[in-house]
Assembly symmetry: D3
């Protein structure tokens, strides 16, 4: 089995990758894999309420969110890229599409993470996920110029904030226990949304309990397991059922 | 990672395990794992039309189907058990439930395969799947007497004959290329349903193409890949996204 | 194209065939086809509230419902059979199963009508539909003794009383305009549920408007069209898209 | 019953109409009906990988795909129109909308075929289907200038390449046996995607078997039947259940 | 419990609010609450066929629809606003988005009504509903300039014209009996679509019967109850189950 | 508006009503309403693992579970009834059906709470919910002897342990803040499943946050809100949208 390649995470806003995929990023980094995080916007309008209430202007809000995002990415071992495509609403444009195709072809990910298709509480998340899934297909097409076409990396949707009302059914529980401290550290960096640290610590613990409850006798998960939930877009390809 | 344990396959009729899960059984056997196949009935009424038309009586039909099933299981490297619970309709009874709980606790499978929840063309398949899933839960309960409780082995539903009208969406494609010849040999043993060999060879090839189309650059599937499709009942628990 | 064969309608209670499939029955009768209506119960407990409130005993209630059902069937041109299997709850038994397999094999229907899979307001309707679909499969099996096996007649679910909450999506709109007067006459016979005549006349008119709205330029439906809605269980097989 | 009118097929790329609706087109042509095929793009970027790898430029790729498409359409007895709206991504524009409304009003189809709503492997197919369904409604509106409004021709979605993961449930199986040789000839013309001939021959045979398995005793399908699967967008309107 | 605030209704065309939400508007007006109706277009192209056939020009059609809409709104006790964003197709634009965010922040609704997500017979209704739901979220965001952010008013989708084929499952039945006469008067004003008065009177009565059938013993609905059906977008928040 | 009547809770095992509906029970009791809890079994086999591991026999296990259940019910202000119908598997029998119809008719509930239709981790929960919904319909039927028929009380499904994999979408969030201490006390009584107190306290807080996030400006929920999630079986009937 060849070495695993890079991880590519495509999110609408900088916070998303921390809360929802921080464990997967830290695991990849731990294994010496490249972990590239593409933040399509800074979440400057839709997810920075406390900064606006603090009187900051648009550029200042963006700067704060960028800095937070970079620090959190570093804490996880990943590299954050910002596409500044605007949020609330995030819109698919030819320029953004082209940039993401180029990114796919440069990074050549072996795994892609992004938002799930539905979220009635957030208008950018479904759009970012759709862009991520569409540009992956474009990057596979020989007729799209610029760089070498990629293969078909599996795509995982990370868990929305309120899965029950987003039609999100977890079909993968990823054990992130070995890197839980790194995820916790990254979450604590996200000052603008600090109240979420406890929320996502609880979630990590809850998904961990479920991981243990759903694993056969042989996986050997630790007593306190932390996990992240994901949903596949394409079938898993495997050489063994487990 | 500990060694994988036994495989348990629970089917309504003897043919099912050959067409739909023969590759998974042969893979387990190749790896030195025990592969136990529980046929709840002989398919004596619902899947033996050619035998009836040949003028055989009920006991003769059962005997033929048993012999076929045993030979096919042997060709795959598995062991077939027959519960003779009757087919068309297969009915859940306390006796069958008790026998299957005992089987779960004796075999202690690390993976379970069975029928998917819906099949508008076959009345026994959904019932057998439901029985398999229910008795697995009973076998986990400390309050059910007889033997030691089991853990929580993952359950995979194998592909129905007409997946599109059975609400079956493959979420796992299992590469069975290394054991394809064994599956083919087992299929050829199933004389009563011989016209299906071509059908399921085509299906194996088609699912193989999809496996290649859906695998990232690192899995390295062979030029001609054969695969079987499965659908998970519970979330996958994993230490790595792939 | 060969002549169409008999129509078989399997319902939980005598009223069902009148309100929900009366038009289809009358159309078959008009075309000289046999139309057999199997009422699994008399609806004696669940759909005869006014009779009970009128002080009748169980046998009297059954007798009234039988008489109504026979008259309504006659008005439509069909023949009603009563299986007296009990209602509220209607239960699948080996005896009922055997009787229905025999019926399928005797009638040899070219079309089958029955209840849809879900109805949160009625506990017998889904059960009757399930029995109808299961016994049709049994009647096809060479291993089930008694009579000659049947082919695969298409199955249509007729419209539940409140389709929106029964997950019922009409996929067939049957023009019953030529026999509307016969359906109206049959509905008027159903004294115990007389308040439904207006309800189902409105529905017939509404489905008729939809039939016109959904038909291409060539069907030539009349100015006032009446229709009944159905949902297929199996794919339509056709030699022409229309 | 009046004579059937023209068939209108709206596809994203030239290949689509051959693989997925070639039988329906050839049937219409055989019956002397006009069969118009609107290819919204040439599939120049997303479905011409072998041409690009052969070193052709954009215009050359388009020319090859146009020629192939025209030849295949002719082999089926249809006429191909190319809208050159660009692929990967195909985008809905006011100009394309206007052109399609004009097409609907000129052709005045009695049946419309197009792509199904979902395909996680292709970004243009769902868009083309959406455009086809939306412009049909616009063509019905008296307030949209240009030509005479049309009626409500039924719309059928043809089968995606991987129906199981596209939420595609066949509800119509069209017997294309009488024109199978024509479809085969048209498929063999599609040089750029030649590996698909075997794939779609197998599919035609498989859907044919299902057509026989699902037809009542009276349809009289031949021993070797070929079929294409479709899914309705609107309810079928009929004067007879069958 | 504080006094209820304004009602905001966002529709694609002027007729929509009358047929589908007239009762809710009249109830709010009766209680002294402001009822603001935002008509995104005049329905000038898609819902004014009789005016076009009468030879009117675009501006005249708009003027007639505006007048009708204003009169109907007045009859209900609401105030109609027209955004003239164009119909068939209605398109989301930055200008329309900005105007609606401003409207949300000015009206500060305690309840929002709009179209449901799907309607295969109308291309504007789903778009209008999507715009209404998206702009509500934007109006909640501190980073969107202009006015004070709003809270999270519940959103109800009103009933499409053909609920069964729009995947619309009523989960709220609103008793509008006290204001039925006002709804009837408003419906009668809608000259261009006069044939719908009977249709929606029947529907009101039918939903009223269902309201009675689904209410516990304590709601005390009148003998003849009229109702409108709605579907919630977000969970109901309540201090008591009822 | 008349005074609210009794609350009837039907559960498979004694623990269920505490964890999942304890707040609703305590609210009813606070308001002076009768709250009757029907435990169909003692959960003696499926939910008493620690007792079995402690060496108790069947009768002792039942006795412990009964005592716990009675204490917890008392702490909430409700009365627990035990039907001792057996668990793992819980089976619908004529005797149990009759007893529950009699209970419905004696209690005459204005609200019913029970299990949701699906739970892949528990075989009794869906069965208990099905029994509860079916017997409610039987209790409404004039033809079922014994007592006076009931009306149509609304039915709410309480939240399963893992809602995301049970197809459970909360559509009602019940504010239970005023009785949170009572629910907490009742949870602490459930010694055999004590590890769940923290789990359900977290859940209560999480649903409380969502209740605040989804409530309009006028509901005035407290700073720390606790809530329970429910899913309706039938449409809500109301005189006001909120």
């Amino acid at each position: 089995m060849p070495t695993k390649g890079p991880l590519l995470v495509i999110t609408a806003h900088p916070g998303d990758f921390v809360w929802r995929a921080g464990g997967a990023i830290a695991l990849a980094a731990r294994d010496g894999r490249r972990a590239v995080i593409a933040c399509l916007s800074f979440g400057e309008r839709g997810e920075s309420a406390s900064l606006w209430r603090g009187g900051l202007g648009l550029d200042e809000v963006k700067a704060v969110r960028r800095e937070e995002g970079e620090k959190a990415a570093a804490a996880l071992g990943g590299e954050a890229l910002f596409f500044d495509a605007g949020d609330y609403p995030l819109v698919e444009t030819p320029e953004l599409t082209e940039a993401l195709v180029a990114l796919y072809r440069e990074v050549r990910p072996s795994v892609v993470l992004t938002h799930a298709p539905a979220d009635p509480y957030n208008i950018d998340h479904p759009v970012a996920g759709e862009i991520a899934r569409r540009t992956r297909i474009l990057a596979q097409a020989a007729g799209i110029p610029g760089g070498e076409v990629i293969g078909a990396p599996p795509v995982f949707c990370f868990e929305p904030h309120q899965p029950e009302v987003c039609d999100f059914t977890p079909d993968v529980l990823l054990d992130i226990t070995p890197v839980w401290e790194r995820k916790l550290a990254a979450m604590q960096i996200m000052g603008a949304q600090g109240h979420l640290v406890e929320y996502y610590s609880d979630l990590g613990r809850r998904r961990g309990v479920q991981a243990k409850r759903n694993s056969g006798p042989n996986l050997g998960l630790p007593a306190e397991t932390f996990a992240e939930a994901y949903q596949r877009v394409y079938p898993q390809v495997t050489t063994e059922l487990a």
